[in-house]
C-alpha cells in the first residue's frame, strides 16, 4: 500500500475568483498537508457584477469560514428564495422556481397531482402554495420568532467583494500568491506537469495543477485549438440575475444581423455561459433592460487528466438559465477532495471525477434545455432537449409523474415549476388518488395556505439575517 504522510504542492493558475475559492477550500480541507501557490498571469476574469451563490452552498461557505454576516454586510449580499423567469413574448408564461418545493407530498403523490385531484387550478402552484414565493414577493426573510422550517435560500453577492473576502481567507491560511507573467510549467515525458518556474525560481514535485483560466492549455495566454469560446457582453452591470427575462428570435435575418453587429462590438467581458442554442440573443432583466447580449459560448468541459485539473467556473458550462455555477463548482471541489489521491497520474480517480462532474453537468443542461424548450413555442421539440428529458416530459404528461434518481442535483420541483409555469399540465392525475378523500386533501391544502399567511407575520425585511435552526 502506498502511504502518504507527505506534503502536497498544488499550483493554482489565475487570479480568478475560482482560483481563490479552490485554494481556500482545499487548504481548509487538507490543512498542513498541502502547500498552495496561486500564480497570477495578469489576466483578469471579470464576471457579472453580482453572483448568485445558490441554495446548496451553505456548507461549502461554512467550511470556508464565511458567515451570514459576511455575506450580507461585507459582500453586500441579498437573500433570495428562488428565481423568477419572465417571458417577454408571452407574459403569462412567466414562472418562479422556488429553492424549496411548494406544497407537500403525500406518500408517493406529488403536490400538483393532489391539486389536480381536488380540481384546484394549479397553474400558479408556486405562487399560491410556496412560502419561498411569498417571502420573495413580499421582500421578507424569516425572523427569530418565525416557526417552521427555514425555506432554502441563496445569497446574491457583489462578486468583487466576495472575491476579496475569499482571497483574504485564503491568504490568512497561508496560501502563497505570486504575481508574475513570467512563468513556465515543465512537463515530463508523459505530459505530466512536475515543475513550475516563476522568474527563475523553481517549485518542484508538484502534485496537481489547477488551471482556472478560460484558456485550457497549461501555457497561459495561448488559446487552445480545442476550446471554442462564446462570450456575452454584459450590458447592464447593475443587474443581479435574480430576475431573468428571455427573448428568443428564430428568424434567420435577425440572427445574421446580430452576428454582424456583435462582431464589431467591443466585448467588455465574458460571463460563464453555455448555450447550445443560437436562438437566444439576450438576457433581460424583469424591467426589460438588457443584462447581457450573448455572442458566444464556452464549450469545453471541466476535466481532470493526469495531474492537471482544469477547474474553473468558466469551464463549468453552467447555463445562464439555471443559475448554479457556484453550486456546481463547489460540488466539483468536494468531488476533487474526495478523490484526491497520493498516486501521481492516477487515471482511475480522474475518470471518476470526470464522470461525476459530467453527470451533474448533464442534469443542469437538461433543466436549461427544458426552460428553453418550454418557453418558446416556436422551438422544435428536438432542439437541445435530451432524450432523457423528453421521456420525462412524456411521462409527466400522462399522470403528472416524474422520475428522477435521488442523487440528481436538480430536484423534481424545479422541473414542475418550469412545466406548470409554461402551462404544460398533465392530462390526468395518479389513478390511485381517487382512493383518497378529496375533502381531506382540500382541508390540508387550505391549512397550508393559512400556514403561509401566518408565517409571513413573523418576518423581517430583506437585509436581516436568517435565524439558524
Amino acid at each position: 500500500m502506498i502511504t502518504s504522510n507527505k506534503l502536497y504542492r498544488l499550483i493554482v493558475l489565475g487570479n480568478t475568483l475560482e482560483a481563490w475559492l479552490a485554494a481556500a477550500y482545499i487548504k481548509r480541507k487538507m490543512n498542513h498537508l498541502v502547500e498552495i501557490t496561486i500564480v497570477d498571469n495578469g489576466q483578469s476574469n471579470p464576471i457579472a457584477q453580482y453572483i448568485n451563490l445558490g441554495s446548496t452552498t451553505h456548507l461549502f461557505h461554512k467550511i470556508l469560514g464565511l458567515t451570514q454576516n459576511d455575506m450580507i454586510n461585507f459582500c453586500e449580499g441579498k437573500i433570495h428564495f428562488g428565481q423568477s423567469y419572465y417571458s417577454i413574448g408571452d407574459k403569462s408564461k412567466s414562472f418562479f422556481i422556488p429553492y424549496s418545493s411548494s406544497g407537500f407530498e403525500k406518500g408517493f403523490f406529488h403536490f400538483h397531482q393532489l391539486l389536480s385531484r381536488i380540481n384546484e387550478n394549479f397553474k400558479n402552484y408556486n405562487e399560491s402554495y410556496s412560502i419561498n414565493f411569498a417571502l420573495e414577493k413580499n421582500n421578507k426573510v424569516p425572523s427569530q420568532s418565525y416557526r417552521g422550517p427555514i425555506p432554502d435560500y441563496s445569497f446574491v453577492v457583489n462578486s468583487s467583494r466576495y472575491h476579496e473576502k475569499i482571497k483574504s481567507i485564503a491568504l490568512s491560511m497561508g496560501v502563497q500568491y505570486i504575481q508574475s507573467t513570467n512563468y513556465q510549467l515543465k512537463t515530463d515525458a508523459n505530459g505530466t506537469i512536475n515543475e513550475l518556474t516563476v522568474d527563475e525560481e523553481k517549485i518542484k514535485n508538484i502534485s496537481h495543477v489547477i488551471n482556472t483560466l478560460v484558456n485550457f492549455d497549461s501555457q497561459p495566454n495561448k488559446k487552445s485549438s480545442k476550446a471554442s469560446y462564446r462570450t456575452v457582453e454584459i450590458v447592464n452591470q447593475e443587474s443581479d440575475y435574480s430576475d431573468i427575462a428571455l427573448q428568443w428570435s428564430l428568424d434567420e435575418e435577425s440572427i445574421i444581423k446580430k452576428q454582424k453587429l456583435m462582431g464589431k462590438q467591443f466585448i467588455k467581458g465574458y460571463h460563464p455561459i453555455y448555450l447550445s442554442m443560437q436562438q437566444i440573443e439576450a438576457i433581460y432583466s424583469a424591467d426589460n433592460k438588457t443584462i447581457a447580449i450573448i455572442e458566444d459560448v464556452i464549450s469545453d468541459t471541466i476535466e481532470w487528466s493526469a495531474n492537471k485539473l482544469n477547474i474553473s467556473l468558466s469551464n463549468l458550462e453552467t447555463p445562464p438559465l439555471v443559475v448554479c455555477e457556484l453550486e456546481h463548482f463547489a460540488a466539483s471541489l468536494a468531488d476533487f477532495i474526495r478523490l484526491f489521491t497520493v498516486e501521481k497520474n492516477n487515471t482511475v480517480n480522474a475518470k471518476e471525477f470526470n464522470r461525476l462532474v459530467n453527470q451533474r453537468q448533464k442534469s443542469i443542461d437538461d433543466l436549461h434545455h427544458l426552460i428553453l424548450y418550454q418557453a418558446s413555442s416556436k422551438l422544435t421539440p428536438s432542439t437541445g432537449v435530451s432524450s432523457k428529458i423528453k421521456k420525462m416530459i412524456e411521462l409527466y404528461k400522462t399522470h403528472g409523474r416524474f422520475s428522477l434518481s435521488p442523487i440528481e442535483p436538480v430536484k423534481a420541483h424545479y422541473y414542475f415549476s418550469v412545466l406548470i409555469g409554461n402551462h404544460l399540465l398533465p392530462k390526468s392525475y395518479h389513478p390511485l388518488l381517487d382512493e383518497l378523500d378529496a375533502n381531506q386533501i382540500k382541508a390540508e391544502v387550505k391549512g397550508l395556505q393559512n400556514q403561509i399567511e401566518i408565517a409571513l407575520q413573523f418576518t423581517n425585511n430583506k437585509g436581516d439575517l436568517i435565524p439558524k435552526r
Partner: protein
C-alpha cells in the same frame, strides 16, 4: 376518474403473489377495484426463500403490520448479516453485516482510517468497528434506535422467516381487505387478437377469469409474461453460473444465530438459515460441475440434526426478463427473474416491484411512458444486484477448484470493473443512484473478499497516528460496551415475538 381499471388478477400465490395482493389491498381500499388471486395447491410454491434484507421492515410498516405479530406468525428470527465461510479458501470467514463500520472523521469515510491503521503498529480488524457484526458473532440482539447520537442507531436488521407461513400471514391480511382467492390451475392465457393484451385466463375447470391488469406471480414458469407474451429473458449464467439448488429443513440443535451462513462448497455454496423452530438448509450449485446426487450427498453430510423434509430440487437460470412489465401484465417475483439467493435479494426485489407498480399504477390506457419508466427502474435494480453478487464469485480465493477457478477468471461487466478499479486504486466506493447496496455493503464484501486498495485517503494524515489509534480504540471500546449491555438473541425473541406464544392472527 372515468378510465379507471377495475379488475386486477394476480396469478400465483407464493410469496410474490401474496405480497402483491396484500400491498394492493392496502392501497386500493375504496372499493373501486376488485383484486383476485388464483393459485394452485396442486402446483404449490417454490418452498424456499427464507432470508431477507432490512428493506422488508419498510414493506411491513407500509402495510401497517405489527412486527411482533409478523415474527410470531412466521417463526422469524432476527438477521444482522450474512457470514461467508470459506470463500477465500481454508477456514477464512467474514461477515456482510447490516450496518456501518465506525464513523467518518473530518468528512473522510471511516474505512480510510482503518486502512491507514493497517500500516501502523496497532492492527485492527474492520469487523471490530461494526456493532452489527459484534452483536451477531456474540449471538446477541437488541432493537436499534433512531437517535443518530446513539451507537444503537448504527445497525439495521432483517429476518429469517418461514416463507410458507409468511404467505399464509399475508393471505389473511389480504383476504380481510377484500382480496378474492380462487383455487385452480390456469390452463390458457387469452390474448386480445388486436391489441395483444391479456383479456382473461381460463382455468382447468374451464372457468374464465377476466381482468384489466394481470400480475404474473407464477414463479419460474412466467406463465403470462413469458409463455403468453414472450418478452424474452437475459441469461446471466456466464456471470452467475449456479443453476440448481437442493433444499431441506432440519431441526434446531442450538439457539438460533442472528445471521445467515453461506458456506462455500466445491460447486457452489450452502446456506443455513435459523428460524425459531427449525433450520433451513440448501446447496446452490452449478450442474456443470456436479450431479444432483452429488449435491444432495454434500448437503446431507453437512446438515446437523434430524431432517424434517424430503430434499427439494430446484432448477433455475440466473437472469431477468427483458421487460418486467409488458402491455397489461406486470411480472413480480421469480417470474420476473432470479439472481440466486446469495445476498437474499429476491423478496426485496418483489417488494420493490410492487411499490413501483403502485407509484406507476395505470389506468385503462396503459400509457407506454409509465411502462417504459417502470421497466427501466426495475431492470436497473436487477442490474445493480447482479454486479454485487458477481463480486463475491469473481474475487473468491478458493484455488485449484475448477468451479471457483472459472469464476475468478471470468470476464465481468464493465460497471463492476469500474467500481473495482476505483476501490483498488484509492479505496473509493462508487456512489450510484437508488441502490439496494450502498457503501458499507460494498465495503464489507470488498474487504471480506480481500480486495485491498493501493492507497488510503491522504486526508487521513490530518490526524496524527497516535491520536488515530486512540480514536479507534475508543470506538472499539464503545462497541464492546454496547454489546455487553445487550440480551442474547434468544432472550429478545422470547420477550418480543416468540412463536410459542403465537396468537390467533
Amino acid at each position: 376518474m372515468s378510465n379507471r381499471i377495475k379488475t386486477i388478477v394476480i396469478v400465483g400465490g407464493g410469496t410474490a403473489g401474496w405480497m402483491a395482493a396484500a400491498a394492493l389491498s392496502r392501497y386500493l381500499f375504496s372499493g373501486h377495484y376488485h383484486i383476485r388471486l388464483i393459485e394452485s395447491e396442486q402446483i404449490g410454491t417454490v418452498g424456499v426463500g427464507e432470508a431477507t434484507i432490512p428493506g422488508i421492515r419498510d414493506f411491513n410498516q407500509k402495510l401497517g403490520i405489527n412486527e411482533n405479530d409478523f415474527m410470531r406468525a412466521t417463526h422469524a428470527t432476527f438477521k444482522l448479516g450474512i457470514q461467508f465461510e470459506g470463500w477465500n479458501g481454508g477456514d477464512d470467514k467474514y461477515m456482510h453485516p447490516f450496518g456501518f463500520f465506525g464513523h467518518e472523521l473530518n468528512g473522510v469515510p471511516f474505512h480510510h482510517y482503518w486502512l491507514k491503521s493497517q500500516q501502523l503498529s496497532h492492527k485492527f480488524e474492520l469487523e471490530e468497528f461494526s456493532l452489527a457484526y459484534q452483536l451477531a458473532i456474540n449471538n446477541k440482539f437488541k432493537l436499534p434506535n433512531n437517535d443518530p447520537k446513539s451507537i444503537f442507531s448504527t445497525f439495521f436488521y432483517a429476518f429469517h422467516l418461514d416463507a410458507s407461513r409468511y404467505a399464509v400471514f399475508l393471505r389473511k391480511y389480504a383476504e380481510n381487505r377484500g382480496v378474492l382467492r380462487t383455487e385452480g390451475k390456469v390452463d390458457t392465457v387469452n390474448l386480445n387478437p388486436e391489441s395483444g393484451f391479456i383479456d382473461s385466463v381460463t382455468l382447468d375447470d374451464r372457468t374464465q377469469i377476466k381482468g384489466d391488469l394481470f400480475i404474473d406471480c407464477s414463479g419460474f414458469r412466467g406463465l403470462l409474461i413469458e409463455k403468453a407474451l414472450g418478452v424474452g429473458y437475459q441469461d446471466w449464467s456466464h456471470w452467475l453460473p449456479c443453476n440448481r439448488a437442493v433444499a431441506v429443513q432440519s431441526e434446531s440443535l442450538e439457539e438460533p444465530l442472528p445471521y445467515t451462513r453461506a458456506i462455500a462448497r466445491d460447486a457452489g455454496w450452502q446456506w443455513r438459515i435459523p428460524l425459531q423452530h427449525r433450520v433451513g438448509n440448501g446447496y446452490v450449485y452449478c450442474d456443470k460441475q456436479i450431479s444432483d446426487d452429488e449435491a444432495w450427498q454434500t448437503l446431507n453430510a453437512n446438515v446437523p440434526g434430524k431432517q424434517l423434509t424430503e430434499p427439494n430440487f430446484l432448477k433455475f437460470t440466473t437472469g431477468r426478463r427483458d421487460k418486467i412489465w409488458e402491455k397489461n401484465c406486470v411480472s413480480v417475483g421469480l417470474s420476473s427473474g432470479f439472481l440466486e439467493p446469495l445476498e437474499s435479494t429476491s423478496i426485496h426485489l418483489i417488494q420493490t416491484a410492487i411499490m413501483k407498480l403502485i407509484t406507476h399504477f395505470p389506468d385503462n390506457q396503459f400509457a407506454q411512458e409509465d411502462i417504459d419508466d417502470y421497466n427501466q427502474q426495475m431492470c436497473s435494480q436487477f442490474d445493480q444486484v447482479k454486479d454485487f453478487l458477481i463480486l463475491h464469485y469473481f474475487k473468491n480465493g478458493r484455488k485449484d477448484i475448477p468451479f471457483w477457478d472459472e469464476c475468478r477468471t471470468m470476464a465481468i461487466p464493465d460497471s463492476l470493473k469500474e467500481r473495482l478499479n476505483l476501490f483498488q486504486s484509492s479505496g473509493h466506493i462508487q456512489e450510484c443512484s437508488s441502490e439496494i447496496f450502498v457503501d458499507p455493503n460494498w465495503l464489507a464484501v470488498y474487504i471480506g473478499q480481500k480486495v485491498k486498495p493501493n492507497s488510503y485517503h491522504p486526508l487521513t494524515d490530518t490526524i496524527p497516528n497516535e491520536q488515530l489509534i486512540n480514536i479507534l480504540n475508543q470506538m472499539k471500546i464503545a462497541i464492546g460496551n454496547a454489546v455487553s449491555q445487550c440480551p442474547t438473541h434468544q432472550q429478545t425473541i422470547q420477550n418480543y415475538c416468540s412463536s410459542a406464544s403465537e396468537s390467533n392472527l
